[in-house]
Every structure is written in C-alpha cells, then in structure tokens.
C-alpha cells in the first residue's frame, strides 16, 4: 500500500501515474488524501484555473481543445478536468469529452482527466477542487475544468475556478433564458460559440444587453475594488478556430483585473468554500455513515416524536459531546449532560 508521503514525492517528481492516482484518491475520498494534500500544499496556487460551463453540446470540449492549442503555443502546460454527469439510475457514467481532445493525448505538456459527477452535491465540487490542487502542485500553468451547466452542483464546480467562462450557442437558449438560469451571475467571460451558425449574432447582442442590465454583486466580486463586466466573445471552435485568440485575451484580461483587484481574497473565499464542503461531508459521514445516528433516529421516532424533535435531540447530543470531549472541557462545565456520551 502506497503511503501519502511516497505518493507526494512521486507526484512532485513529475510522475504522471502518481498524478492520476492522486486524483483517484481525491475522488474516492481515500483516507490518505488529506495527508497527500498536506505534503504538496506549498506547491499549490501557481496555476490559473479556468472553469468552462454551458449547456450540453454548446462546444465546451471543442473549445477547450482549441484553447489548449493556443496555450501550448505560448509555452504553457495544461491540466484538464472534464466532468460529465453520472446516471442517477445506475450510478455509472459515460465520459466522452476526450474524443474532442484526442490530438492532445500524446502531448507530454497536457494531462486530461475525466470525472463523473457521482451523486453528492458538495462532493463533486470538493473532488474537482482537489483534482485541481493536485494538477496545480504537479506544475501545470493553466488548468481547465469543463462541466455541463445544468445545475447547482456544476455551478459550484466552476465557481471554484479563478475565471469562469460560460459557453452558449445559437439554438440553446436566448439572453433571457441565460438570465433566468443564473448564467450571467457566474460568468466572467461569456462565449457565443458556433458563430458560424445562424442566430449567433443575435445571441451575442442579447447577451451584451443582458450583461449591461445585470446589477449583481457576486461573492467573488466582494473583494474587488472595481466591478468586472463580463465581455461577450464570439467563437467558432471547429474549423479555423475564429475568436479563440479573443477568448484567450478576455481570460487574460480577467486574470489581470483579478490580480490587480484582490486575487488573494478571492482565492481565500473559495478556500473557505472548500472547508465548508469538507466539513459537510465529514458531518454527513459522522451522522449518517455506518457508525452514525440512523438507529438512534429510528428509536426516537418510535416514541411518536416529530422529525423536528428528533433532529433537535440528535443535534444537541452531537454538539454536547463535542464541547464535552475536548481537552479543555473543564472550562465549559456549564454544558449540561455531557457525561452520557
């Protein structure tokens, strides 16, 4: 069995198999992962993380592939995390984003990892952030995360990026729908892909209007002195790749803006989100995992109590056992009933 420190050593030495396995550890919540992250954490934070989201089939993977070509040309190395949904029925997944990036497989400066969304909400964003941390420590200068923009958990994922690119295309909705879906709230850069198709110009104008009307202050803006108005960029990811330069320029501009504003605060904010997710997962496990409170809840419910009464009782018992169990418990003797657990 490989230890966390052995794995960290291999990862930092540039071993790609170790990179792949480390991401599996993160994904499977392997108990060795926290130790691994601890060992590599000093090396985390150099990469620029770009989240790419948008409706199914908008061209996210094709665009990612085109972006990588440009990034490679200017000497960057790129880690890619491509997330596709899991089937809610079987729990399995068909991960097909790599097909559009096939020509990158043999490039030693590129690493592509497919990830299934699995079932948990916070869990996906937590694992995706972990995967980015691992790729970051490995040394990629840019990290691209692709996810289908259909729900809260996917938005949580891309919101963990430094720059969020939302990809739309003609036929997949108009500006009003984008506003309703909350797409504008998460976007740092808006892309109208498939600009070679009818309706693309119309959509771009729509989105520009929508951006102008938007007046929201997002948590990720809070630290910033100035507001960022997301530019709308038209691209054609297939063929000659029109607009990819402009897209990269827009991403660079957002990066320059965020770095000048308060990158540290923005990243700290997202670190706190990650702490919340880890705490949430741990609590969930503690409360409802195999050694959790299910039996207790069932017993209590049997006494004709409401779910609220039972929840209250369980919460109290947990909070009390916490305050009572610490080494400084003597300082908090006012907490009643802590001896029972």
């Amino acid at each position: 069995m490989q230890s966390a420190s052995e794995m960290a050593e291999r990862l930092l030495a540039g071993d790609r198999a170790a990179l792949a396995r480390s991401i599996s550890w993160a994904e499977n919540a392997d108990p060795r992962y926290p130790g691994l992250l601890g060992s590599i954490y000093p090396r985390v934070g150099k990469a620029w993380r770009i989240g790419i989201t948008g409706p199914p089939g908008a061209g996210k993977s094709t665009l990612t592939n085109a972006l990588v070509a440009h990034l490679r040309e200017r000497g960057e190395t790129v880690g890619i995390l491509a997330i596709d949904p899991s089937s809610p029925f079987s729990g399995g997944a068909l991960l097909g984003d790599r097909i559009r990036m096939e020509e990158r497989t043999a490039d030693p400066g590129v690493y592509i990892r497919s990830m299934a969304s699995r079932k948990s909400h916070g869990g996906l964003a937590r694992a995706a952030t972990d995967a980015c941390d691992v790729m970051d420590a490995f040394g990629f200068s840019t990290i691209l995360m692709e996810t289908v923009g259909v729900g809260q958990s996917e938005y949580d994922v891309v919101a963990a990026a430094d720059t969020v690119v939302v990809v739309m295309c003609p036929g997949a909705g108009d500006g009003i729908q984008a506003m309703k879906a909350g797409i504008l709230e998460v976007a740092d850069v808006l892309v109208v892909n498939k600009s070679d198709l009818d309706g693309a110009d119309r959509l771009a104008l729509d989105l520009e209007d929508a951006v102008r009307m938007r007046d929201i202050r997002r948590p990720r803006d809070l630290a910033a002195s100035a507001r960022w108005a997301p530019p709308v960029v038209s691209t054609s990811a297939t063929g000659a790749g029109d607009g990819i330069d402009a897209l990269l320029e827009a991403v660079d501009a957002h990066r320059a803006w965020l770095e000048a504003a308060d990158l540290e605060a923005s990243r700290r904010h997202r670190r706190v989100d990650q702490v919340r997710r880890v705490v949430g997962e741990r609590l969930e496990e503690e409360l409802w995992g195999p050694r959790g409170k299910r039996e207790q809840a069932e017993t209590l419910l049997g006494n004709s109590k409401t779910p609220y009464d039972v929840a209250e009782e369980i919460l109290n018992s947990v909070l009390e056992s916490r305050t009572g169990a610490g080494p400084d418990a003597g300082d908090r003797t006012s907490t009643p009933g802590d001896a029972s657990r």
């Binding site: 069995m1 490989q2 790609r16 198999a17 792949a20 396995r21 991401i23 599996s24 499977n28 919540a29 392997d30 108990p31 899991s86 089937s87 029925f89 079987s90 729990g91 399995g92 997944a93 068909l94 991960l95 097909g96 790599r98 097909i99 096939e102 497989t105 043999a106 690493y111 592509i112 990892r113 497919s114 299934a116 699995r118 869990g123 496990e285």
Partner: protein, 141 residues
C-alpha cells in the same frame, strides 16, 4: 468511506470505421454502474495506454473488428506495461476465431469475447473480476 467505481476505458483501435459495437458495450457498462471513458475510433496502442494512465482506469476493453487482434492486443499490453500499467485488466472482443482465441490465451489473454457474446455477460464478468481483485487487493492501491 466513499464508494469506489470501476473505471473502464473502451477503445477502438485499428482502421475499421464503425464503432457501434464499442458504443453499445460502453452504454451497457455504464448501466452496470461503471464509469466508462469512451475514446472513439482509430486509437493507436500508444494512445490507448496513455489514456489508461491519465484516467487511472481499472479496465481496458478493446473492440477490434478489423481482424488485427493478434497484433493489437499484445501491442496494447506492451504499451501499458511500458507505463507501469500492467495491473490493468485488459480484455475485449471482436471477430476472433477459435484458433486465435487459443493463441491469445497462451499469451495470457485469459478472457476475450467472440462475436455474439451477450453484452450482459461481458459486464458481469468485468464486475465480478474487479470485485474479486479489490477483495484481495489492499496492496497496490
């Protein structure tokens, strides 16, 4: 702790131009709860092995209809071994004659599936083989 999923790469090496069979098996494996990385047509053995490494898959399943299985299976295995991926369960199917099957099994390909094998059977075999491995494992992970 969390549940681990069987990760499978379904690849289609060789030059023949249709991948309906590969897509079907990919969907069946998904329906059996596996996470399937589908890589499309015309994959070289190098690409398949490199993808297997990047994706940290447990299983590589090859669909080979071109008749080139006698070279492709050993080539993929060689490329996997080169990358330290000898632990991957390598299997697959296609139009493989009884003699070829025999020959390949001598080369260590214990389980390959001939034409007309029910997809269900393939999925169940992968599932039980992986479950068996994970039970005995605890070592290499």
């Amino acid at each position: 702790m969390s549940e681990r999923k069987i990760r499978v790469l379904v690849g289609k090496p060789g030059l023949d131009g249709h991948d309906r069979g590969a897509k079907t098996i990919a969907a069946v494996l998904r329906d059996h709860g596996m996470e399937v990385i589908y890589t499309g047509l015309h994959q070289t053995p190098e690409m398949i092995a490199e993808t297997a490494l990047q994706e940290d898959v447990d299983v590589v399943g090859l669909s080979i209809l071109s008749g080139a299985h006698m070279t492709l299976f050993p080539r993929v295995r060689e490329e996997l071994e080169k990358r330290g991926m000898a632990h991957v369960l390598l299997t697959g199917g296609g139009i493989i004659s009884a003699e070829d099957m025999e020959e390949l099994s001598k080369l260590g390909f214990s389980k390959l599936f001939g034409p007309g094998t029910p997809t269900e059977e393939i999925a169940n075999w992968i599932q039980s083989t992986m479950e068996e491995r994970w039970k005995n494992e605890e070592v290499s992970r």
